[in-house]
């Protein structure tokens, strides 16, 4: 059997994935040493990210090649807007972030750049390119969660809950579903289109890395 397209993409972005695994934010969640202010910055920005992520999933649903993908992507958009965002609100509350504070938050430069890239690719790219841009978030979180889970449990229960969520089998199944979708829609593409898919994939991987960096550095707009 030929190597999976998503395996090749993963290899093309391996330096970025390695850097992500070693990022102080990720290591800090794993050993519990992460300063809570940095984590709170992540929670607030990720909440904003989710709204735009749902936009991207909806564009994906609108442009899906078949009913199965269309339905699954619509379910994901709904789950993001309803379940995941309300989980985030509950989670934020544990860190003393009120619902009003979440709604007031404005996107930091990296959050803005990443979501703009995702929505732009979803609006103007090919469908395989769109899935290429979508996949690193699901797959990356699943890998990060599983790696942290293997590495032991931080003392702070809130960090443990975070790890458990992304290390869950449901999350792994979601990442696998998205991989299969990309393997399927990317099959037999001409080299020029494959390059565009790879470019979208690697760019999203880089933004995933930058998103941790944004939280770590408490990034805001300098002017």
């Amino acid at each position: 059997m030929a190597e999976r397209l998503t395996e090749r993409l993963r290899a093309a972005a391996s330096a970025v994935w390695d850097a992500q695994a070693e990022h102080p934010f990720i290591r800090g969640i794993g050993d519990g040493s992460l300063d809570v202010e940095r984590f709170k910055h992540w929670v607030r920005q990720d909440y904003l990210f989710l709204t735009d992520y749902a936009r991207m999933l909806s564009l994906a649903s609108a442009r899906a090649p078949d009913l199965e993908a269309m339905t699954r992507l619509a379910e994901l958009a709904h789950a993001t807007l309803a379940t995941e965002m309300s989980l985030h609100r509950a989670y934020a509350e544990e860190f003393g972030i009120s619902a009003e504070e979440l709604e007031r938050e404005r996107p930091a430069p990296t959050c803005r750049a990443y979501t703009d890239f995702l929505v732009r690719t979803a609006a103007t790219g090919s469908f395989p390119e769109l899935v290429g841009a979508l996949l690193p978030c699901m797959w990356g979180f699943s890998e990060v969660g599983l790696a942290l889970k293997r590495g032991g449990q931080p003392a702070d229960g809130r960090y443990r809950a975070w790890i458990d969520m992304y290390a869950s089998s449901e999350f792994a199944a979601l990442a696998e579903w998205c991989r299969e979708l990309l393997d399927r829609v990317g099959a037999g593409l001409p080299p020029s289109e494959l390059r565009a898919v790879e470019d979208a994939f690697v760019t999203s991987c880089r933004y995933e890395y930058l998103f941790w960096e944004m939280a770590w550095k408490l990034e805001t707009w300098p002017v």
Partner: protein
């Protein structure tokens, strides 16, 4: 001052012709031939694909998660419960499953589908809300009028089709859509009026393709 109220009143006659169309009345009375219902369902199934994509564009273009959420829930219903109902109806009517049958769209279905999906792709959020207000508002209206008039056809399939559209959840969505239309920034009314008028014409033409309206029969006679 309500934009949606003004739009509906300005097109009252056309609206009434749609919600009191002979197709609807025969459905309610149970006198609609099953062959006619089957032909309509096969075409409506094709239309729902375009409609679902339009809703997905609406989620992507929603001003915030507050508007996106009810649309995402509606999309779930369209691709979930309503899709299941289509399957059951096709089965009972002795037609192959929708995904296999793939009948060719009638010109009227293709035109209507292109229209709504075009509004989804190119239109503003308010224009999408307007198109959906007509497609969903007319269905909620005719179905709830049949229920209010105690029209309970013997045919269980017909009753299911009435009940799914008389569901309070659909009326709630229509109320949301009306609210979003009313919240449109100033100056958007002409574009919204154009979408409203055209959507209503497509609805009428769609019914007419299966059961000619009295007005159409008169015109055909004279012609």
């Amino acid at each position: 001052m309500s934009i949606v109220h003004d739009l509906t009143e300005a097109h009252r006659e056309e609206w009434e012709r749609v919600v009191l169309h002979p197709f609807v009345l025969e459905l309610g009375a149970g006198t609609l031939p099953r062959r006619t219902f089957a032909a309509y369902m096969a075409q409506d199934y094709l239309f729902v694909d375009a409609l679902a994509r339009t809703v997905a564009y609406g989620i992507a273009k929603a001003p915030s998660a507050a508007e996106a959420r009810p649309l995402a829930a509606f999309l779930q219903t369209l691709l979930g419960a309503e899709d299941d109902l289509f399957g059951r109806v096709f089965d009972e009517l002795g037609m192959p499953p929708p995904a296999e049958a793939r009948p060719d769209p009638l010109p009227v279905t293709a035109r209507f589908g292109r229209f709504v999906e075009g509004v989804g792709r190119r239109g503003t959020f308010e224009e999408i809300a307007t198109a959906l207000y007509v497609t969903e508002g007319t269905y909620a209206d005719w179905a709830s009028r049949l229920v209010a008039a105690s029209a309970r056809p013997d045919d269980a399939l017909y009753r299911s089709w009435i009940d799914i559209h008389a569901d309070p959840a659909l009326a709630e969505l229509v109320a949301h859509l009306g609210g979003w239309i009313d919240a449109a920034p100033p100056g958007r009314e002409p574009a919204m009026a154009s979408v409203f008028r055209r959507a209503l014409r497509h609805e009428a033409a769609f019914w007419n393709a299966f059961v000619p309206s009295r007005a159409k029969m008169r015109r055909d006679h004279r012609g």
